[in-house]
């Protein structure tokens, strides 16, 4: 019994000493507004729409992002320019619903929609969290600097007929006799 009491006292003194020595350790807290937390480059934060290296919109309004979105926070409407390029007439992301899962980025065939390491997008008014195309579209290329969908895809637009894309063979003339 004396042994149990002594070991109990010892353990109490030991834990008090251990906790006291904690005072000399580095603190784990980050003083947030002044000190920023490190975010990896592929962090999934605020969603952007990027442009191709020529400065044109990458988005071709295929709707795959809206279909992939598990919470249905993306809505857009297709339109077409005179030279045959598709583009979204409006593109709207409701960030009060968005769960930043990155499914839209995975679904996007043209690397247009991308997630960025930025989470500081608080608003006092919920309506301000609905981002329109002018809020989403940036002037740069985002993570993929050289990719231009119309240069690698087989789709014909004004100034780029079938077969003119990179590594693309001329289309087979089905009416010709030569093999």
């Amino acid at each position: 019994m004396i042994g149990a009491i002594l070991s109990g006292i010892g353990s109490v003194v030991r834990s008090n000493f251990m906790i006291f020595m904690r005072a000399f350790r580095k603190r784990d807290t980050i003083q947030y507004p002044e000190q920023k937390v490190y975010l990896p480059p592929r962090y999934r934060g605020r969603i952007i729409l990027t442009r191709d290296p020529d400065g044109e919109e990458r988005c071709v309004a295929c709707n795959l992002c809206a279909a992939a979105c598990p919470v249905g926070c993306i809505s857009l409407q297709k339109a077409e320019t005179e030279d045959g390029r598709w583009y979204p007439e409006f593109f709207r992301i409701n960030f009060s619903r968005c769960i930043f899962c990155g499914m839209c980025e995975e679904a996007c065939p043209t690397n247009a929609i991308q997630l960025t390491p930025d989470f500081e997008m608080c608003e006092y008014d919920r309506q301000n969290l609905v981002y329109e195309k002018e809020h989403l579209l940036i002037s740069g290329t985002g993570k993929y600097h050289d990719y231009n969908f119309y240069r690698v895809a087989g789709m014909a637009i004004a100034g780029k007929p079938k077969g003119a894309a990179q590594d693309e063979a001329q289309p087979i003339d089905v009416k010709g006799l030569l093999p």
Binding site: I5, V12, S15, N16, M18, I19, F20, R22, A23, R25, K26, R27, D28, T29, Q31
Partner: protein, 330 residues
């Protein structure tokens, strides 16, 4: 100016002293909320409140404003007179107990009181009524459980706390706290009364309802125990009472076992010595809260009855024997 007799001046000076001590105590008690949060954070590798003012020193003002403007709600199912009385008792009992603490050789409210230490024991006993009243009058099961636990805890610590102090009283030959401090001129009572000190310190933690003896409020099991139904300033009064308990018990530990205002240097440094010693004990209170888990209350009663009570009795017995031996030899 015939009415301005020396006696009246004496009374006025004493009254001013008492008011100054009360305000000082309340100030320290209020600041303890901030100090505790910062220290707990320090020991948990956090920062704690450090935004309001330099290093967060004005946090207490923000807390006060918040507390004052909270809705002071009276639940319809409570027993009103008792419910209102409980926080008043909680706060006033512990603040009044501070009256017997001599702060320096000349400062103190009731340091010559010939029942000094007993006065503290009586008020500590009264303070328990606050918890019991609050627990019972709230008409809620968590509050009642808190009150029941408080009762169980009280009967296990009040006994040995009194007996532990008697060792000091026997050594000093007086109940008056000033005489007790003066008796420690040659040697602080921590040396001859070491076991008494341990037992009294444990009981002191229980008196202030501090972790690890915070069974009556036990946030993790009982919502907040006896003050579950309280809000606003009434809740705040319970907390002032708790921190006042910490300050009073720390000051009493210093007075009874660590020589009160005594220390090297001239007499006017007594304030400083008293303050430093008390502050060390306050920090120790917070460290204990940061380090130790809360025992079950049968374990508390086990420790009280089977360890602390025999220890304090043996301590008193040995103290009495030594005093008698010295008296016969001398």
């Amino acid at each position: 100016m015939s009415w301005l007799t020396p006696e009246l001046i004496d009374v006025l000076i004493k009254t001013a002293q008492a008011i100054a001590i009360l305000l000082g105590t309340v100030f320290v008690v209020a600041y303890l909320i901030f100090i505790e949060r910062r220290l707990l954070a320090l020991w948990q590798d956090r920062h704690g409140p450090n935004r309001v003012g330099p290093h967060g020193i004005f946090q207490i003002a923000a807390d006060m404003i918040k507390l004052i403007f909270k809705e002071d709600w009276l639940p319809p199912f409570v027993d009103k007179p008792t419910f209102l009385l409980a926080p008043v008792i909680a706060m006033s009992a512990m603040l009044m107990a501070f009256a017997i603490v001599p702060i320096s050789a000349t400062w103190g409210v009731a340091t010559d009181l010939n029942i000094g230490v007993l006065f503290f024991l009586a008020l500590a006993g009264l303070g328990v009524y606050a918890v019991m009243f609050a627990g019972w009058s709230s008409n809620s099961k968590y509050a009642l459980l808190g009150g029941v636990r408080s009762t169980a805890q009280t009967i296990s610590y009040e006994v040995f706390m009194g007996i532990a102090v008697m060792g000091v009283v026997a050594c000093a030959g007086s109940f008056s706290t000033r005489d007790i401090v003066l008796a420690q001129k040659d040697m602080w009572f921590i040396v001859p009364q070491f076991f008494g000190f341990i037992v009294f310190a444990m009981a002191g933690v229980a008196v202030a309802h501090r972790a690890p003896f915070d069974l009556p409020e036990a946030e993790s099991e009982l919502a907040s125990g006896y003050h579950t139904e309280y809000s606003g300033l009434k809740w705040g009064m319970f907390f002032v009472g708790e921190y006042a308990g910490v300050v009073t018990v720390s000051a009493l530990l210093v007075t009874l076992y660590f020589g009160g205002w005594m220390g090297p240097g001239p007499e006017y440094l007594g304030f400083l010595w008293f303050f430093i010693k008390t502050f060390i004990f306050i920090v120790l209170f917070i460290l204990i809260r940061a380090a130790l888990p809360r025992p079950r209350y049968d374990q508390v009663m086990d420790a009280g009855w089977k360890f602390c009570l025999p220890l304090s009795l043996l301590n008193l017995l040995a103290t009495g024997a030594v005093i008698l031996m010295r008296a016969n030899a001398g």
